[in-house]
Symmetry: C2
Subunit: 358 residues, 2 copies
């Protein structure tokens, strides 16, 4: 029997507006009949919207929040002045233990700042990260960090490896996901000391992790590893470059198809296939915040109802697993492995890891 879950939903975040979010919750509700929804936002707006979805209304409560965090607001402003916002209340409900997981399509920076402030980081993790599910030729991979931390040291990358691996086990249901660190191919160039050191720590640790070593940018889409670890600056640029490239290829394709007579006929017949392609490339559930002492799913800001429903699916899956406990256990696993079994190199890494955890 599946335990009943409570989801906190920020109904005011994202570009599509509360109507799309309520509709998304209604879609998700049909897939997860045991889930209870707490919906945060302007009651006057939400009440008539919820009334249109009876099945959802029977398992949902509206919790009034007067303010809305704008997509352009700075995280520090939100921390100072955002306490009456739907975003804050959604996260705080998880922090108080009144919901199992939060879902918001709102301002990413603000959502991370409020999550760190209200929920806090998991034991031993200095910096939470944002992970996404990246479509690959083999299926999907986890990529993190995609924007929470621009400047990362080696220990933080090691944390990301641990968190990403636990997430991949939960989401993909595989015993030993493979992990790679994003790097560039050229030899003997300067400035990649951080990734080299992170790789060394992972090699030396006695963590039961399938550490693959380095991967390059093209290996992400090829699905060479299950988990790709990088800092938030590089990860964010890689993610957005991939989005831009997918858009470019679809643009070329449309152009090529409409230029010739046969191309236009082909496009007509291939319509269904092209729609399936567009769906596959659609940014769906968005990101997951890893390394917090609670579960937060960030839905893509430009999402529609179906995208929001996918984010709820992911939230339910994470809440049903024991992910936070797994990350904490894995992380202490490195410390024991490195400090306990004392090969020279392994022992050498222990203080570094502990420094990161302090």
């Amino acid at each position: 029997m599946v335990r009943e879950l409570t989801l906190a939903i920020d109904a005011m975040g994202g570009d599509a507006g509360p109507e799309a979010i309520i509709r998304g919750a209604a879609i998700a509700r049909r897939r997860h009949p045991k889930v209870h929804f707490l919906i945060f936002g302007d009651e006057a707006v939400l009440k008539p919207l919820l009334a249109k979805h009876r099945a959802l209304a029977a398992h949902a409560e509206i919790r009034h929040a007067a303010d809305v965090v704008r997509m352009t607001e700075k995280p520090s402003q939100v921390i100072r002045r955002g306490r009456n916002s739907s975003l804050w209340h959604t996260i705080d409900t998880v922090a108080q233990g009144n919901a199992d997981v939060a879902v918001s399509a709102g301002n990413t920076g603000a959502l991370m700042a409020v999550s760190r402030y209200c929920i806090g980081a998991a034991e031993g993790i200095s910096r939470p990260a944002i992970a996404v599910l990246w479509p690959t030729i083999r299926g999907q991979s986890v990529v993190l960090d995609v924007g929470a931390n621009a400047g990362c040291d080696a220990e933080q990358l090691v944390d990301f490896a641990v968190m990403g691996e636990a997430f991949a086990r939960t989401i993909f249901g595989i015993e030993r996901p493979t992990v790679g660190i994003l790097n560039i191919g050229e030899e003997e160039i300067k400035g990649v000391e951080t990734v080299k050191r992170a790789a060394q720590i992972l090699r030396d640790s006695e963590l039961p992790m399938e550490f693959h070593g380095f991967v390059e940018g093209n290996d992400i889409g090829a699905g060479v590893v299950d988990v790709v670890v990088t800092d938030g600056f590089t990860g964010n640029i890689a993610l957005k470059t991939a989005e831009g490239t997918a858009r470019l290829v679809v643009h070329y394709l449309r152009q090529s198809l409409t230029r010739s007579f046969f191309g236009r006929i082909g496009a007509l017949f291939a319509r269904g296939a092209l729609r399936a392609l567009a769906r596959k490339l659609d940014p769906r559930s968005g990101g997951v915040f890893l390394g917090l002492n609670g579960l937060v799913v960030k839905c893509h800001g430009g999402t529609d109802a179906h995208g929001f429903a996918s984010a709820v699916d992911l939230a339910v899956e994470m809440a049903e697993s024991d992910m936070i406990a797994r990350i904490t256990a894995d992380r202490s696993g490195i410390k024991l492995g490195a400090a306990g079994h004392g090969e020279p190199d392994a022992a050498h890494t222990a203080p570094k890891i502990q420094a990161a955890a302090s």
Copy 2:
């Protein structure tokens, strides 16, 4: 009348072998009848290959080089032991003033190291960079650095902006190309001080440059600016991520088209359009080394004859323009602007730029 040019060709670099390179030179020769080719490599291999292309043979000389630099060789090894290689001789010929531009499909790291060693950096440039022409929805943009320098400071990014702008003017023939620095969207995150400072220097300088400010990963493919500036680590990962994504989208497309009956009919009719798409996504001429005291074009290692011919086109275009003189003039332009016209911030940047140039 176009001045006669001499091209130095490394016939032994790349995965496709000397036969493809000679064939590529023959194709390029038809497009540039005034160009003279110096072809470096194993004479015993090259002689019979060249004999097959009479028109090229009439305008080409083979220059024997006994050794070949392997694609996996480390740059430092090549500097120590590579003096008899075709790669070294090709570059050294440009350094000696016996050719106007070098083209090689060989080991990128080695090619850059030998270029810096033999040709040297242009006046005022501390670190040469590799620039590529990136296909966009609007046409093409210049992106640099894509792999020569992993750790860049703000002054180096400013150099890249100057070099990229001069290259864009030459190649695109536009008066004032727009320039953007690659960054991430999230506000108030740490670790992007370098890009912020580079942007500040460019804003404060009195360089006649259309500086757009920051761009994000998705803006590259959208063609938001003509020149995208980034460090070699991020640029290399962005470039390879884009290649991987293009491959992924084409894979999805093929899958979608073969899954349904109508999709298969559509694919049949759209064959020509799909081939045009594949051509557009093909990595073609490769990269250009900017900031050297001479011209070097790096052709993609996996190129075929047509790709090599495109690289020669680019080499000819660069040699016919006065690009190195332009970069040097532009760069001294910043120094004068910043130091001379003395607004407080502008004056403040001058020593930094000079430090980078020293």
